[in-house]
Amino acid sequence: MAPSPDTYPMIRDVGLTGKLVSFAGVFGDSANRAALAFRAALNAAGWEGISETATSLTSVFVRFDPLILSHDDLHTRLTELLAQSDWLTAPLPGGRKLWCIPTVIGGDHGPQFLDAAETAGLDAEQARHDIANARVRVLTLGFAPGQPYMGQLPPAWDIPRMTQLNPQVPGASLVVAIRQLIIFAGPAPTGWRHIGQTGFSCFRPQSKHPVALTPGDEVTFREITTEELDHIRATDTSGNGGATCEVLP
């Protein structure tokens, strides 16, 4: 019953109480848009027995109670919903935000910036320009609460994760791999290269809205100095780390 590996969209079981609807096996912008749109349609359908939905990079995860909604029924309904639209060309969801996050790039706050630039085949100036002028989209939140995977950077940034892990990058650090950026939710080991530092808290347990970003939001980075970052950290109480935010039209 294993699906043919090349047939997308693909519906697979995740555990006994989950299904995964995947639009691609490798990352692609249209597959990510499809996942966001399909999840919105699924939530709007409001089928009894579904307890939650979530998107990953190119898939929609559905958690359900198989005693209320059987595997076969859900599979049939998902298949029908998939057939109702060309999800790969679906527009992005409404109500998205544009964030501008102050960021120190390179130096002591981004010790692997030069290594990342070199791996990408760019000189430091071009690499700095690419990051400072990037406008990326939150592709998914995952791994840790509120932690965004953002993309895509220009093709040169399709650099692999390192085989040797960074033993620990600080919370709110900016890391890069595979044309994507992550702002880390907390200190953690990672195979991604540490290229910068923000004061942005992805997860704010003390706040009424603990998770600031939503998949579909867009993010730009304003380059700041170490002194500016120190000032932001000393004065910011919101968790935004000096970031500004506007609703996209």
Binding site: A2, R12, D13, V14, G15, L16, T17, G18, L20, S22, G25, V26, F27, S51, E52, T53, A54, T55, S56, L57, T58, S59, F61, R63, P66, L67, H71, T140, L141, G142, F143, A144, P145, G146, Q147, Y149, A185, G186, F203, P205, P210, V211, P215
Partner: protein, 338 residues
């Protein structure tokens, strides 16, 4: 007037846990919650209260707890030597702890996670619908010596009840079903997954349990380049060095390692409770078999409140318990006939 219990001594892994935070995967938050969810239901049944109430989860090490008001308690999960003011009390049972009395719990003899339930439940503040401490997500922190644990209002007064619990604290056979990448492991590797006796590695926590074994790594066939994808508790990830790792409640929400199989929900507590060195074997079953077990498991949880019986003597001292005519009337009287 607020009720409370004072922690005189406790181990470092002592945390407040309920059923966790389901419904927040879209924000990157795994559910967390009690490592042995069945023990949480058992304690609720013993106290005749909701399984949504939070309890204290003790990770192997006991402690000393003083009632600042008269409170009902129940003890479930990994058995610990337990006493009130020096007098031994029965595990898997409910008891009264009078104001000023101290409950002493020794270290768990088998299993990893023990639960101290309080009548009225623990009344720490809710955060996103749950009181569970989620160590990985930095939500809350373990309780410490000197802490006063707030307790909710208790609408019941009954104690002296027990439940017969099958042992799930020394490993055993874990039933698994296929997962997203099972088909990318060759038949020999999958057969070896079933024929190998694993032991739980000491490296493990509420995020997951590493499986130690002798023999070749469990490598997926061919070169795998897997996109990071949603993972769920129970998934068996195979890390880069070919070691299976069973994910538990506080696991990350996405992962890029191939998943060879998934532990059925009913058997996750068995993995969580296995301690370092306990043997674990995996056995593939069909999805239909897993669904039947799941349905039976849910029915078991629903029936637990009717399964409690009065604690007349220490059941370990009674050779043939079923031959005794137990006094009825203490419980509701609508129990299933034996």
């Amino acid at each position: 007037m607020s009720r409370a219990m004072l922690i005189h001594r406790c181990g470092p892994g002592t945390t407040v846990q309920d059923q966790g935070r389901l419904g927040h995967l879209d924000e990157g938050m795994s559910p967390g919650g009690a490592a042995d969810i069945l023990a949480l239901h058992e304690g609720a049944a013993l106290l005749g209260q909701s399984p949504d109430y939070a309890a204290l989860e003790l990770a192997g090490l006991g402690g000393i707890f003083e009632a600042q008001d008269t409170i009902r308690i129940a003890l479930t999960g990994a058995p610990m030597p337990a006493s009130i003011e020096g007098e031994a009390i029965v595990w898997n049972a409910s008891h009264m702890l009078h104001r000023g009395q101290k409950l002493t719990l020794g270290n768990a003899k088998r299993g990893n996670y023990s639960y101290l339930h309080l009548g009225g439940g623990i009344a720490t503040p809710l955060f996103i619908g749950s009181r569970s401490v989620h160590l990985v997500a930095h939500i809350g922190k373990p309780v410490a010596e000197g802490d006063e644990i707030p307790i909710g209002r208790d609408s019941d007064a009954e104690t002296g009840c027990t439940l017969d619990i099958p042992d799930r604290f020394t490993g055993g056979t874990i039933r698994i079903i296929t997962s997203v990448q099972t088909s990318q492991f060759d038949a020999d590797t999958l057969a070896r997954l079933e024929s190998t006796t694993f032991t739980r590695d000491p490296r493990g926590n509420r995020m997951g349990a590493r499986m130690a074994f002798e023999g070749a790594p469990f490598a997926a066939a061919g070169q795998l380049n897997i996109l990071s994808e949603m993972v769920v508790p129970g998934d068996i990830q195979v890390t880069g060095d070919g070691t299976p790792f069973v994910l538990l409640g506080e696991c990350q929400t996405t992962g890029g390692y191939p998943r060879i199989a998934t532990v059925i929900p009913t058997d996750i507590p068995l993995v969580a409770q296995a301690r370092a060195g306990d043997p674990l074997r995996f056995q593939f079953i069909s999805r239909d078999q897993a669904l039947a077990i799941y349905a039976a498991g849910q029915a078991h949880l629903t029936a637990l409140p009717r399964a409690i019986r009065p604690l007349v003597r220490n059941p370990h001292d009674i050779r043939d318990l079923l031959s005794y005519q137990l006094i009825s009337g203490v419980i509701a009287g609508n129990e299933e006939p034996k």
